[in-house]
Symmetry: C2
Subunit: 310 residues, 2 copies
Amino acid sequence: MTVTVVGSIAFDAVQTPHGGRERMLGGAAVHFSLAASFFDEIRVVGPVGDDFGDEEYAVLHGRRVNTDDIEHVTGGKTFFWSGVYHENMNARDTLETELNVFETFDPKLSQQSKDADVVFLANILPELQLNVRKQCERATFVALDSMDLWINIAKDALIAAISEVDCVILNDSEVELFTGEREVVAGARKIMQHGPQAMVVKLGKYGAALVTPDDSFWVPAFPVDVVADPTGAGDSFAGGFVGCIAAHGGDASFDVLKLAMAYGTAIASYNVEEFGTERVARLTGAEIVERVEELQRITSFETLEVALKA
Amino acid sequence: MTVTVVGSIAFDAVQTPHGGRERMLGGAAVHFSLAASFFDEIRVVGPVGDDFGDEEYAVLHGRRVNTDDIEHVTGGKTFFWSGVYHENMNARDTLETELNVFETFDPKLSQQSKDADVVFLANILPELQLNVRKQCERATFVALDSMDLWINIAKDALIAAISEVDCVILNDSEVELFTGEREVVAGARKIMQHGPQAMVVKLGKYGAALVTPDDSFWVPAFPVDVVADPTGAGDSFAGGFVGCIAAHGGDASFDVLKLAMAYGTAIASYNVEEFGTERVARLTGAEIVERVEELQRITSFETLEVALKA
């Protein structure tokens, strides 16, 4: 199958308690692509400027990501974000956001990208997400990510986009902002009333929940020794999650969705161990499988006999 | 087996986004006792004042908790705490803490309480915890809870107490405060260097982690429709956790500890659905088992075949 992802391609500058980088490859579409590349053929759609060169393409090509639909805007500069993570790593302050070529991004999909079986609409303007969704008529599974900004200023457009996808991926604070519901399951189901049959609620360093109309599934974050840089963790998760579904022919049965949660969790855990794309760029399939199996082990328990008192 | 718990018995006043109570039965030892009462014979040790009467004893006796070692301080008033939970329910502000009879509490254990096989040292002055620990010579499994206050002002005494117990239960922010470690497993293992072979790290509304010298296990909070009042959730968890270990003869093997995590999670999830002890006081064993089995279901996944690309 082919997976098309539409979203940001960026240079990031970050400072975390474990160090920093002045300029590293990033962006939702990049992190997603690298993670999803373990499962299927990935086509990435997004804009870059003149500062995006061979070194950056080499990272994507190193994982056989198809970059034909990366749009090079001559005279432009690539999207740039810089931020500082707080001591506890679950919050960050943005120092600078230079949208640059991303500001006027209007996704142009080649026929091959439109023909994808599985599509990921990374966090961009909801109108553009809907536009892309409509172009990908053959897609059997489409997932969408968003952010607080669009919930605050473009909620109707976001709802219009959500109503055309199969799965929405948000973090728990975004679900609460969207719905006013504190509880993950209740909030997710309110969003799903607009159409999607599944929702992933990311819980930051605490893991993620999958919610369907009549079930839920919970995974912790995979415990790592050091979280060096959380940037891109959510998009790496989405890449593993959506990629796993693509590897199952776009089948979004509950069993496949649950396994997809585990793959997303495993790849995200590698992502955070080093800065930017550094770790995932040299990740192996065997390493991913190792953590999926370990994740299963550290969340399983036997219901031994217990005689409870009335 | 017999389980002895030493800790606070209180009246609480709380306000949450779902309402409030002016005066409800509470305290760590009370919440623990009610939860643990499903597994074994529970003896509760703690001080009360003249305001603690038949109505309160009836709640404990309703679950067959042995109250012989509740110390009635004539002329005294029972420990009182009042607080307000924030909108997101994961934080609260204390309005008033009246230690009252708790201020001069010096645990006096009857021989039966000293002879317990399993002991829970709820959050009290670390010196008193160590003192009680030493009196319970026959205990095969002793668990200890504490709080940020003692980590800040009595860390050496806390370490002395920790070094004499089998399991420490803290929340993740307390582990970080204690050790300076952001990662749960690394922080827990630093604390375990003082002696304990197991540690439970509570993650608030996100669940809990069990850490042993060479393994870990993770459970989410059981998803409920409404969290009415989180007061006592941690101690209900501890009651289910320690109770389950007692029901297995004090066996703290990894399989039993994992199941104990599930029982603690299940009972805590009932605790938060109503105010104070209201829900657990009328809980049934069948309801607990139902959520333990459901918890197993919503955390399990099959590792279906996935052909990963190099």
